[in-house]
């Protein structure tokens, strides 16, 4: 990486002048923390004490038997406090906020997991908290909105643009340029202007560090392949980070939505629909039209429904270090269903994308080989979406009955 935060031709820092001083302050705080071994120790201790780290690596014996190929291990980020890998980055940035002496934190959220994690961190560290969330996502992830508000955060629905993750990021930037003196913007993924891609990946690298140690202990060898879903790219950067120096194939799985031919997807690297662009403060592949206007994207998983992708992953795709695939909404629901029935695990719809690709490849691999899937989050937050996807009539009847009870009040 060069001084301005470039990874090959990707990354950089394209920010309004008003934010330049704020970014300089953030970069200084980040570099100081990174150079201080005591900071990392404080972070690891905090995650051990507050968030059940290290999260287990679970051998999926039944799925392995079902597919009859490679041994399948699952990294259990769903067991992190608040139910996803998002908490890692947020608690790390929380420690930085304390170092910088700021009193308020803001964040964007898509699926709501990053918003819940940020609201949790704000409650624990005594910070004022505002979360920006696209109106479409507020509607599909209502339970997370409930928890954020209960923890004292203000949730602002974003009504402009496509009303999803990218619009929430724009709104968070607009807030930040107004109140940067007392506010930190805890960006939730490995995107945005420098230092966010690098800093978020650093906090998430805990996942890969643990997973590498665990797989060596439990399987006695390194995995042949590691699978992670890719929205912005933070959970993928986290788990891949443990294996960059090894002879391990890294596979990122993007949202294939209704299929790559349909245009209704969010595959920036696995499809040929995205082109190089500059938006939201950084240069990467974006799903955009020939004029440079961002397209609408689609995924059953709100957390993957995003126009851009981590500049670090764009670079790793270009160099061939990471292979990118896409999983369709339909495949995702099937993989989720199978995982629940065979293992009693409930991966989030986002994480289920990684399972789809692993399930396609595991049967073709030898039983001597090992693969690791990152279960980046838990799926019970998606109960409304998943119940609809399964078309569960009893769930529907329950909701109708519940609504009638409210009506009768």
């Amino acid at each position: 990486m060069s001084e301005q935060g470039y990874f090959g031709e990707f990354g950089g820092s394209f920010i309004p002048e008003i934010l330049v001083a704020t970014f300089e302050e953030l970069i200084a705080a980040y570099e100081e923390a990174r150079a201080d071994p005591a900071f990392w120790k404080t972070y690891v201790d905090l995650m051990g004490n507050y968030s059940c780290r290290p999260t287990p690596l679970t051998e999926a014996v039944n799925l392995t038997r079902h597919f009859g190929g490679a041994r399948i291990f699952i990294k259990r980020e769903d067991l992190n406090h608040t139910g996803a890998h998002k908490a890692n980055n947020v608690m790390g940035q929380g420690l930085l906020i304390q170092r910088m002496g700021k009193k308020r934190v803001i964040a964007e959220t898509g699926a709501g997991q990053h918003g819940v994690a940020t609201a949790t961190m704000a409650a624990k560290f005594g910070l004022e908290c505002t979360i920006y969330m696209g109106e479409v996502d507020v509607a599909r992830q209502r339970p997370n909105v409930f928890w954020m508000e209960r923890m004292g955060a203000t949730v602002v629905p974003v009504t402009e643009g496509s009303r999803t993750l990218k619009d929430a990021i724009n709104e968070a930037f607009r807030d930040w340029v107004t109140r940067m003196d007392d506010t930190h913007y805890a960006l939730g993924t490995a995107c945005g202007p420098h230092p966010f891609p690098e800093m978020v990946s650093w906090f998430q690298s805990l996942i890969g560090e643990e997973a590498r140690r665990q797989v060596l202990e439990q399987a006695g060898c390194l995995p042949s392949r590691v699978y992670a879903c890719v929205g912005g790219g933070s959970n993928a950067m986290g788990i891949f980070g443990g294996f960059f120096e090894d002879d391990v194939e890294l596979v990122g799985v993007e949202a294939g939505g209704a299929g790559l031919d349909s245009k209704a997807h969010a595959s920036r690297l696995a499809s040929s629909d995205a082109t190089l662009g500059v938006a939201q403060g950084y240069k990467t592949y974006f799903l955009q039209n020939p004029d440079g206007q961002m397209n609408e994207t689609h995924s059953v998983a709100a957390g993957l429904d995003y126009v851009g992708v981590s500049p670090i992953l764009a670079h790793l795709s270009q160099t061939g270090r990471v292979r990118f695939e896409a999983a369709t909404d339909e495949e995702v629901v099937d993989a989720l269903s199978l995982t629940m029935q065979k293992e009693g695990l409930i991966p989030a719809l986002e994480s289920s994308h990684a399972f789809v690709q692993a399930f396609k490849e595991a049967p073709l691999m030898s039983p001597d080989e090992v693969i690791v899937i990152n279960q980046s989050g838990r799926g019970d937050k998606d109960i409304f979406t998943i119940a609809d996807a399964f078309g569960d009539p009893e769930w529907e009847a329950f909701i109708q009955k519940k609504a009638k009870e409210y009506d009768a009040r």
């Binding site: 301005q4 950089g12 820092s13 394209f14 920010i15 309004p16 002048e17 008003i18 330049v20 001083a21 704020t22 402009e160 643009g161 990218k166 724009n170 930037f173 607009r174 340029v177 107004t178 109140r179 940067m180 003196d181 082109t275 190089l276 662009g277 500059v278 938006a279 939201q280 403060g281 974006f286 955009q288 020939p290 004029d291 440079g292 206007q293 961002m294």
Partner: protein, 253 residues
């Protein structure tokens, strides 16, 4: 170049007015009528914004106008046709304002060539800091177009000098933190900021963000060369209609 025009014009006016429109909002026909009203009302130069789907430096009013213009089918090509039409028809300089992705996707060199061909005089690109502007500066220079850069209240003196060394035409001074279109209180800190701005550059200064009425313009007389009225004219169009623009501009003088 624009700086000469501004200095010459300032010989008989104690402050110049620059207004801002979003091309294609509410429609291209309306945009043309708004420009006409503004020129008749006496503005000295104008910013034409090419709409972008992710305008992170703009507040709700201009954001909304960007969205509506795109929904109505605005394209970069159509915006250039519009720019060419107004710069041929009206005898004031027009500069273009947009976000970097619009230039980047078009090809930065081709974009600058096209701006020059359309008769535009310069550009403001708020998400392009001078550190990332190498290709842009070269392309603008080759076409004798002015790259207009921005100072903000938290820009250090050293950085102001760096920005000034890359800038052309004038420097756009942002009056305060935040996005376009919110209230600005012109305090004592503000005067200190303006004197830092003047000390840092030989170029004329424009002041924008929150300038909304004759009182604000009066306050800026003698302190800066150009008062920028951005969001407020959009509000006039939204609330009182296109025909109210001319009267609004005349009152500012």
């Amino acid at each position: 170049m624009l700086a000469d025009y501004i200095r010459k014009r300032r010989e008989d006016r104690d402050i110049l007015l620059m207004t801002h429109i979003v091309a294609g909002y509410p429609s291209f026909d309306d945009s043309l009528r708004i420009v006409e009203q503004m020129v008749e009302g006496g503005v000295d130069l104008m910013e034409l914004q090419v709409p972008f789907s992710e305008p992170i430096a703009d507040g709700p009013v201009i954001l909304h106008a960007n969205q509506r213009s795109l929904e109505a089918g605005s394209t970069v090509d159509r915006c250039f046709e519009f720019a060419e039409a107004v710069s041929q028809r009206f005898d004031i300089p027009f500069v273009l304002m947009t976000y970097y992705n619009i230039l980047f996707k078009f090809g930065v060199q081709e974009f600058a060539d096209r701006m020059a061909a359309a008769g535009l005089r310069g550009a403001i690109v708020p998400d392009l800091p001078p550190e990332e502007a190498g290709d842009y500066l070269e392309a603008m220079g080759r076409n004798e177009l002015d790259p207009i850069f921005i100072f903000s209240p938290n820009t250090t003196d050293t950085r102001m000098s760096l920005i000034s060394s890359r800038a052309g035409g004038f420097v756009y001074c942002v009056a305060r933190k935040g996005v376009t279109g919110a209230e600005t209180s012109f305090s004592a800190d503000f005067e200190a900021y303006l004197s830092r701005c003047s000390a840092a550059t030989e170029l004329p200064l424009a002041l924008g963000f929150g300038v909304k009425d004759a009182a604000d313009v009066d306050f800026l007389r003698g302190q800066v060369d150009i008062a920028v009225i951005g969001t407020e004219t959009l509000r006039v169009v939204d609330e009182r209609g296109v025909e109210a623009v001319r009267g609004f501009i005349e009152e500012l003088r």
